[in-house]
Amino acid sequence: MHRRVVILPLLAASALVARENLWAQSWRTVTMSRQVDEERAVDVEVSYGAGRFELMPADPGVLYRMELRYDEEQFEPVSEYGEGQLRLGVEGTGRRIHFSKGEKLGEMTLELARDLPMDLRLECGAVRAEMDLGGLSLSNLEFKTGASESRLDVSEPNPIRMNEASFQVGAAAFTARHLGNLNADRIQVDAGVGDLKLEFTGDWQGNAEVEVEMGLGTLTLRFPKGLGVRLVRDTFLTSLDSQGLIKRGDSYYSPDWEEADHRLTVRVEAAFGSIDVEWVR
C-alpha cells in the first residue's frame, strides 16, 4: 500500500526525466531490492544526508527494498552488501552540499526485512523522517539525526528482546510512539535543542530503563495507564508537570508502581525547558 504511493511519483519522475530536465538539479531515481537468502542476522547501516526519509517493514522474503530520488550532481547512492553487513543510503559526492532557494530535496524510502534479526543504525542529517519499525526484529537500534523533524513509530511489537535503543537528536523535533513495542531493556535519548515527545505505549514484555538528556526544549512523556513509572530528574531551570505521579524522596512514582506488571524507570537530565507528563489509555 505504502509502496504504491511511493512508486507512482517515482514513475512519474522517470517519465519526466526521459524527456527534459525540468530543474537545474539532475534527478536520478534508483530502486533496488534484495531477497533474503541464507542470512541468519544482518547489521544494517543507513545514512541519509538531506531530504525526506521513510522507513517501514518489507514484504516477507525481501531483505531490503530501497527507492531513492536524488540529485546526481551532488549525491550518489550507497548500496553494499556482504557477509551479513548491509550499508545503504545516499552520500554527498563533494565536500559541501548546496541547496538553493526553490530547489527540491531528495527522497529515500527504505523497507527492511521483518523476520531477520538485525542491528539497525540510522544516521540522518537535515531530514524529515517518518519511520515505522513495527514488526522488525531488532536486537539493537541506534538513530542519530541532526536538524530534522523525525517521527518514529513502532506499530507492532519487536519479536526479539532488544539490548538498547539509542536516539541522538540534535536540533530537532522528535516524536516516538509505541516505544513499549521496542521490547528494549534500555532506551537512551540524547537531545540538544528541540521538542521531544516520547510515548511509552505498546506491548511491554519486561521492565526497562529510559535515560533522557536534554539541553533546551520541551519534553513530553506519555505513559499508558497500568505501567509502573518511576521518574527521576536532575534538572536546572526546568519545570515539571508531574500529573499522576506521587513524589517519594527524590523520585516521582505512579500510584501502581508496586503492583505493576512492568516497570519503567525514567531518568531525565535537562538544563532549560519543561517536562510534561501525560497519561493515555
Partner: protein
C-alpha cells in the same frame, strides 16, 4: 568434420539454451536475488543478480545501448526505444524475483520502432530471456536426452534458437545479428568457442557459424560460412558454395573457391555508421541554419515593429493608465491614513521634514535589519516557552507591520512634498492648500509619481527618446525609494508617530485640527461675520499655548530630575520662543 577443442563454458551455455529452445524445459525460473533499476535523464538501467552469483545488466546510457557493459548499439534520448525501455522499467519497478522475471520475460518491444531500434530491442529482449533461463533445469534435460552438440546442430533449428544461442556471446551480439541476416535457417551448424575443421574430401551440407573459434576448410561447404570473433582459413582445393561473412574475424586464403560473396560485416557497419554520422551532421547543420534563420526573421520583425509609431503610443498610454491606477490606490490609502491616523501621520511627516538625513539613515538601517530582526525574533520566541504562542502572531504580523510602516512613511513624505508644492504657488496649482492634509498627501503622491508618468509620455513620442524615457523612469523609481526610506526611518524614529516630542509644534496634528477649524471658520465667516472667526483663532491659539505650557512643564521636570540634557533644553527654548511669536501674531 570434427572439433579440435572446446572452450568449455560458453559452449555449454549456448548448447543448453539451444536445447531448451527446441525442447521447452519445465517452468523453473532462474532465481533473481537482487535487482536495481536506475533512471535519470541520461540513463535507464536494469541490473539483476542471480542466486548463482551471476549478474546481468542492460543500460541505455548517454546514447548507448549496453548489455553487460558491452555496447550493442545507439539510441537517441526520448526515441521510441528509450521510451519503451523506460516504460518496461516503470512496470517492473515494484516487482521482485519471480514476478519480476516473468514481467521481463513477457516484454515485447513495441512495433513502431525503426529498423535499427527494432534490432536493438530484439537483441535486448533476447538477452533478457537468455539471462533468465533456468540453467540447471536445462542441463538436466540435456543430460537426460543424451543430446550432443552435433545432434543439436544437425537439427533444423529455427532462427530464434540460433539467436538465443548466440546471445551467450553478448559482446558480439550486434555484429552477429548483422552477419546472420538472410542466412537460411534450415541447415545451420553453430559452434561457439570451438575450433572446427572441414576435412579434405568432406562435404558439409549446412551453413557453418563459428563464434569465438577457428574454422579450417579443406573440403566442401554447401552453404554459407559465418565467423565471428575468430578466424577462417580456406585451403587450396576447398570450396564454399555460399557467402562468407566475417565479423570481427580474420580470413586466410590459401587458394580455394568461394562462389558467393566475401563480406566483412564490421567494415560495412563502419561504413554505415560513417554515413549515419554524416547524415546526422548534415541534419544538425540544417537545423542550425533553419533555427538561425528563424531567429533572424524574428529579430527583424521585432526591429521593424519597434519602429511602428502606434506601438509606442499604445505602450505609453498603457503605462499612464497603469500609473493612474497606482495613483488612485495610493491616494485612497493616503486618505484612509489621514482619516484614521492623521496625528501619527503629522508626527512622522514632521520628523521626516526636519530630519530627513537622519530619517533616511535610520530607514536604510531599518530596511537592512528588518529581516534579521524577524528571524531573530522567531528564534528567541521559539526557544522560550512563553514565546511559542507569540511566535504564531510574530511570523505573519512583523512583515505586515514593516509594510505598514513603509506605507505610513511614504504617505508622510508625500504629505511634505504636497505642502512644499503648495508653497511654491505654481500656476494652475493655486487651488492646492498645503495645510489640508488630504490635498497635501494626494498632491505629494502625484508629484512623486510624476517622473514615471513623464517617462510614459516620452515613450509615446517614439523610440528616439529612449534615453530620456529611461532617465525619467529611473528618477521615478528613485523618488519612490527615497520617499519610502526617509518615511520608514521617520516612522521608526517617532515610533509610528506616537513620539510627538520629536515633531515640531507647527507640524503637530492639532495644527491640522486648527487648520480644520480655520477652514470651517473661513467658510462660516462669509455668512456669520468676522467675530466668530476671531473666536476660533483665539481658541486655537489657546490650544497652542496649553501645549507649549505642558511641554515646558515636562522639560522643567526633566531638568529638575537631571534627565534633560543641554541641547534638548535649547531645542525646547527655541520651540517656546516660536510658540510665543505665534501667540503674539
Amino acid at each position: 568434420m570434427h572439433m579440435r577443442h572446446s572452450r568449455s563454458l560458453p559452449t555449454a551455455v549456448a548448447l543448453v539454451l539451444a536445447v531448451w529452445a527446441v525442447h521447452p524445459a519445465p517452468a523453473q525460473e532462474r532465481e533473481v536475488v537482487s535487482n536495481e533499476i536506475a533512471v535519470s535523464g541520461d540513463e535507464a538501467t536494469l541490473r539483476l543478480e542471480f542466486k548463482d552469483n551471476h549478474r546481468f545488466e542492460i543500460s541505455l546510457r548517454n546514447g548507448q545501448v549496453l548489455i553487460d557493459d558491452e555496447t550493442t548499439g545507439t539510441y537517441v534520448r526520448g526515441d521510441a526505444l528509450d521510451t519503451a525501455w523506460r516504460s518496461l522499467l516503470g512496470q517492473v519497478v515494484a516487482l521482485e524475483d519471480g514476478p519480476l522475471a516473468e514481467a521481463l520475460r513477457s516484454w515485447e518491444p513495441p512495433e513502431d520502432l525503426s529498423d535499427v531500434s527494432e534490432e536493438l530491442a530484439a537483441a535486448m529482449d533476447e538477452a533478457i530471456k537468455a539471462a533468465l533461463e533456468p540453467i540447471a533445469a536445462l542441463q538436466e534435460v540435456q543430460e537426460s536426452e543424451g543430446t550432443t552438440l552435433e545432434t543439436i546442430l544437425d537439427t533444423a533449428m529455427e532462427r530464434s534458437v540460433l539467436q538465443a544461442l548466440l546471445l551467450g556471446q553478448t559482446d558480439r551480439l550486434g555484429i552477429l545479428g548483422e552477419a546472420l541476416e538472410d542466412v537460411t535457417p534450415e541447415q545451420i551448424r553453430v559452434y561457439v568457442g570451438e575450433d572446427v575443421v572441414v576435412e579434405s574430401g568432406e562435404e558439409v551440407d549446412a551453413t557453418l557459424v563459428v563464434v569465438d573459434g577457428e574454422l579450417d576448410v579443406e573440403g566442401t561447404v554447401r552453404g554459407d560460412i559465418v565467423v565471428a570473433g575468430g578466424s577462417l582459413r580456406i585451403r587450396d582445393g576447398s570450396r564454399v558454395t555460399g557467402d562468407v561473412r566475417l565479423a570481427d574475424s580474420r580470413l586466410f586464403r590459401d587458394g580455394g573457391t568461394v562462389e558467393g560473396r566475401v563480406r566483412n560485416v564490421e567494415e560495412e557497419r563502419a561504413g554505415v555508421e560513417e554515413l549515419r554520422d554524416q547524415l546526422r551532421q548534415e541534419l544538425e547543420h540544417e537545423l542550425e541554419s533553419v533555427t538561425a534563420e528563424r531567429i533572424r526573421r524574428e529579430f527583424e520583425r521585432e526591429r521593424r515593429s519597434s519602429f511602428h509609431p502606434l506601438r509606442h503610443i499604445g505602450s505609453g498610454l498603457a503605462g499612464i493608465l497603469q500609473n493612474l491606477f497606482t495613483f488612485l490606490i495610493l491616494a485612497a490609502i493616503g486618505i484612509g491614513i489621514v482619516h484614521f491616523a492623521g496625528e501619527n501621520l503629522s508626527v512622522v511627516a514632521s520628523a521626516a521634514r526636519h530630519a530627513p538625513g537622519r530619517s533616511a539613515m535610520v530607514g536604510l538601517a531599518g530596511a537592512f535589519l528588518a529581516l534579521p530582526v524577524w528571524v531573530l525574533g522567531m528564534v528567541v520566541l521559539a526557544v522560550s516557552l512563553i514565546g511559542i504562542p507569540v511566535l504564531v502572531v510574530w511570523i505573519p504580523l512583523f512583515p505586515l507591520a514593516v509594510a505598514a510602516a513603509a506605507g505610513l512613511g511614504y504617505m508622510a513624505v508625500a504629505k511634505n512634498v504636497g505642502r512644499w508644492l503648495a508653497d511654491q504657488h505654481y500656476q494652475g496649482l493655486e487651488w492646492l492648500d498645503g495645510r489640508n492634509p488630504r490635498q497635501a498627501v494626494i498632491a505629494g503622491i502625484g508629484a512623486l509619481m510624476a517622473a514615471c508618468v513623464a517617462a510614459n509620455v516620452v515613450q509615446m513620442a517614439g523610440p528616439w527618446l529612449g534615453f530620456l524615457q529611461g532617465l525619467f523612469a529611473m528618477l521615478g523609481v528613485m523618488a519612490g525609494i527615497a520617499a519610502v526610506t526617509v518615511g520608514f526611518g521617520a516612522v521608526i524614529l517617532t515610533r509610528g508617530g506616537r513620539r510627538s516630542d520629536l515633531a515640531y509644534a507647527e507640524d503637530l496634528n492639532f495644527r491640522d485640527t486648527m487648520w480644520t477649524g480655520w477652514t470651517r471658520s473661513r467658510d462660516r465667516a462669509s455668512s456669520s461675520g468676522v467675530e466668530e472667526v476671531e473666536v476660533e483663532v483665539k481658541e486655537a491659539a489657546e490650544e497652542v499655548e496649553e501645549a507649549a505650557a505642558e511641554i515646558e512643564m515636562e522639560a522643567e521636570v526633566e531638568e529638575a530630575e537631571g534627565i534633560a540634557d543641554e541641547p534638548e533644553s535649547e531645542w525646547w527654548e527655541e520651540h517656546d520662543d516660536e510658540a510665543e511669536e505665534k501667540d503674539d501674531a
